[in-house]
């Protein structure tokens, strides 16, 4: 039995189709991250799961129960929002117990749950304050607490860390991971931040235009992106794309005067494709002084951007811009002639006609 199961979900706002025949199965206790550019329908999907939007077509099952038409509070979900959405006139305690009071739970049970949640989130000292007197990080903790006290199986997060500054964001990110390890609930987490996605997720669903492009473990998404969009979206600095063709029955990749040996490529049958794209991550290229036939690309250093431990070096190779990540102490001087060594086992090949990974 899946924890959450979305079947053929379509959602339209008027005539605009925001989610298109979407399917998603989430396992019990899984941490799923919905990742995609702004406006791709992540929040819309989450709101559908929560029962805050009416689907146009399809079904939603939570814990095996068809909840397609159920009220938000009857679905066994808790939700955390980007803007915290705390009730400003209520204390922290009031915020956390509001839903429980409406559900008609006895007073001592409410007190017990609030106690437990505030202990987990370390917000005990804040219980009698109003949200206005809390910092952003504290507010989001309270909002998580409000979801926690519901003692439900599925938590929905809609960009919960986006309103926080970088330092707090990374702190709360770790805390969320700890929370998940401890509670083992199913979590569905929306973000546009790939670091959050890569660090938190058991599986990432990459979305674009209301369609899930790829649903896989973070490492798979990173190493074997299913298509050009995913490849370009994941990874910062972004992957280098080189347009060329596969020749010799798929044994070599040819562009300009360069011909690369494809032996060791991990993927499907390469074949001869007149329009192919080779994707190389900046961290999978190394700079060497000597050319190795079939394994290096000659290039000239343009500029470099030191980023602390590493430096991102920009080069011109066969008239194309490429970037390479090197340890900062190995920064080459601008104008230097180098050779970029390709690790073909970590490369991705795409067919340009359908943009899919080969």
């Amino acid at each position: 039995m899946h924890s959450v199961s979305v079947k053929n979900l379509t959602l339209k706002f008027g005539s605009a189709e925001v989610l298109k025949n979407l399917n998603l199965d989430v396992e019990e206790g899984e941490f799923i991250v919905l990742l995609g550019p702004s406006g791709c329908g992540k929040s819309t999907l989450l709101n559908c799961l929560a029962g805050l939007l009416e689907l146009t077509e399809g079904q939603i099952h939570i814990k095996g129960k068809n909840v397609t038409w159920a009220e938000p509070s009857e679905r066994g979900i808790g939700m955390v929002f980007q803007s915290y959405a705390l009730y400003p006139q209520m204390t922290v305690r009031g915020n956390m117990s509001f839903g429980l009071k409406i559900a008609g739970l006895p007073k001592d049970e409410i007190a017990k749950r609030v106690e437990r949640a505030s202990e987990i989130l370390q917000i005990g000292p804040l219980l009698d304050r109003k949200p206005g007197a809390l910092s952003g990080g504290q507010r989001q903790r309270v909002a998580i607490g409000r979801a926690l006290v519901r003692e439900v199986d599925v938590f929905l997060f809609d960009e919960p860390l986006s309103n926080l500054d970088a330092k707090l964001r990374s702190e709360l990110r770790v805390e969320l991971k700890r929370l998940h390890n401890r509670l083992k609930n199913t979590m569905i987490y929306v973000t546009h931040d790939q670091i959050e996605a890569l660090t938190l997720a058991d599986r990432i669903a990459i979305m674009r235009g209301g369609i899930i492009q790829q649903l896989d473990a973070p490492q798979t998404i990173y190493n074997r992106p299913a298509n050009l969009f995913v490849a370009g979206f994941i990874g910062s600095p972004a992957m280098n794309f080189i347009k060329g063709a596969t020749v010799d029955g798929g044994k070599r990749f040819q562009f300009g005067n360069v011909s690369l040996d494809l032996a060791g490529y991990e993927g499907g049958a390469i074949l001869d494709r007149p329009k192919a794209i080779l994707g190389l991550r900046p961290e999978h290229l190394t700079m060497v002084d000597e050319a190795i036939a079939g394994h290096t690309i000659p290039a000239v250093v343009e500029i470099d951007e030191p980023m602390g431990a590493d430096s991102l070096v920009w080069l011109l190779a066969e008239g194309r811009q490429m970037s390479v990540r090197v340890p900062v102490e190995h920064r080459p001087a601008p104008g230097k002639q180098v050779h970029l060594r390709v690790d073909i086992a970590k490369a991705s090949l795409f067919d340009e006609t359908n943009e899919l990974r080969i």
Partner: protein, 299 residues
């Protein structure tokens, strides 16, 4: 050397002269405006404290040396409003009886309608909104006669319920817009959070939104109370002579010519009539401004 230079130079906030040219202009304009609006009030007050001989012989701008509240007493208790000579207090209580229920009913209906339109969109709610928007621009004069017929058919013409009904109806378009816009400006995620918490239509309204909406309710109360209190026309048309509001009674006092004009009584009665809106603005001006701002800017 460098240190001493540092110590000698300016430090801290730059001192500003109290009067700058910009300020002088602003203050001048404000003072002129204040005089323009306060001067009539001043004349009214000093005249109401004079006796009739002083008014006839003295200078209108100069206060009396022997102030008396006789005119006020007469205006409140025994001035003649047509057939009866019971003062303006009758009108005062009538105005209360008209204003209080009209304000309460119109605000309840408008806030719920506005809340429904903003947060529980129903079929054609946008069409409804457009109609509402347009209807607030229709001159109300065109609806006077139809409403006479309607209230007559309902059997309430010339009664308190008729005038309350009319005030409520005329208050609704603007108030509903006001509330709709205010509720639409509240964060949508707050509404969603309450839904997930299991709160329904009424619980969200009373427990989540209403406590956040004090400013807009204040604005609505002020608009309605002052508007209805100052109304003359609907009072004359729909209330019937026994329920004439204070404004109508005031008009009757001023226009009922028995003997010479009692300017002091007229002035006192006028001030008494204006006292309620004046007091409301005086005590709630701060909230009024705050509420208007909250309605305009995203709160």
């Amino acid at each position: 050397m460098a240190n001493s230079n540092l110590a000698a130079g300016p430090s801290g906030a730059k001192p500003k002269p109290f009067i700058t040219p910009q300020r002088a202009v602003v203050y001048t304009v404000l003072i002129v405006c204040a005089i323009f609006f306060l001067f009539p009030l001043y004349i009214m007050i000093i005249t109401s404290l004079k006796n009739i001989q002083e008014i006839q012989s003295g200078n209108i701008f100069i206060p009396t040396l022997h102030p008396t509240l006789d005119a006020w007493e007469k205006a409140w208790n025994s001035a003649c409003t047509g057939l009866y000579c019971e003062g303006i207090k009758v009108g005062f209580w009538n105005s209360i009886k008209i204003t209080v229920p009209s304000t309460i009913v119109s605000i309840i209906v408008a806030s719920l309608t506005g809340y429904s339109m903003a947060n529980w969109p129903f079929k054609f709610s946008e069409v409804f909104f457009t109609i509402l928007l347009l209807s607030s621009f229709i001159p109300y004069v065109v609806m006077i006669y139809p409403l006479v017929i309607i209230t007559r058919e309902l059997g309430i013409y010339s009664t308190l319920p008729a005038v309350v009904l009319v005030h409520t109806i005329f208050g609704l378009p603007l108030l509903t817009l006001l509330f709709r816009n205010y509720f639409a400006s509240l964060p949508q995620e707050l509404f969603k959070a309450a839904r997930v918490d299991g709160a329904g239509y009424w619980q969200i309204f009373f427990q989540v939104f209403a406590p956040m909406s004090v400013p807009i309710f204040t604005v609505a109360v002020i608009l309605q109370v002052t508007g209805i209190w100052n109304d003359f026309l609907f009072g004359v048309i729909y209330a019937g002579p026994t329920n004439y509001p204070m404004t109508v009674q005031l008009n009757n006092i001023v226009n009922s010519a028995q003997g010479g004009k009692a300017y002091n009584v007229d002035m006192a009665a006028t001030i008494l009539t204006g006292l309620v809106p004046l007091a409301i603005y005086f005590f709630s001006g701060k909230y009024f401004v705050r509420g208007i701002a909250a309605g305009a800017v995203k709160g």
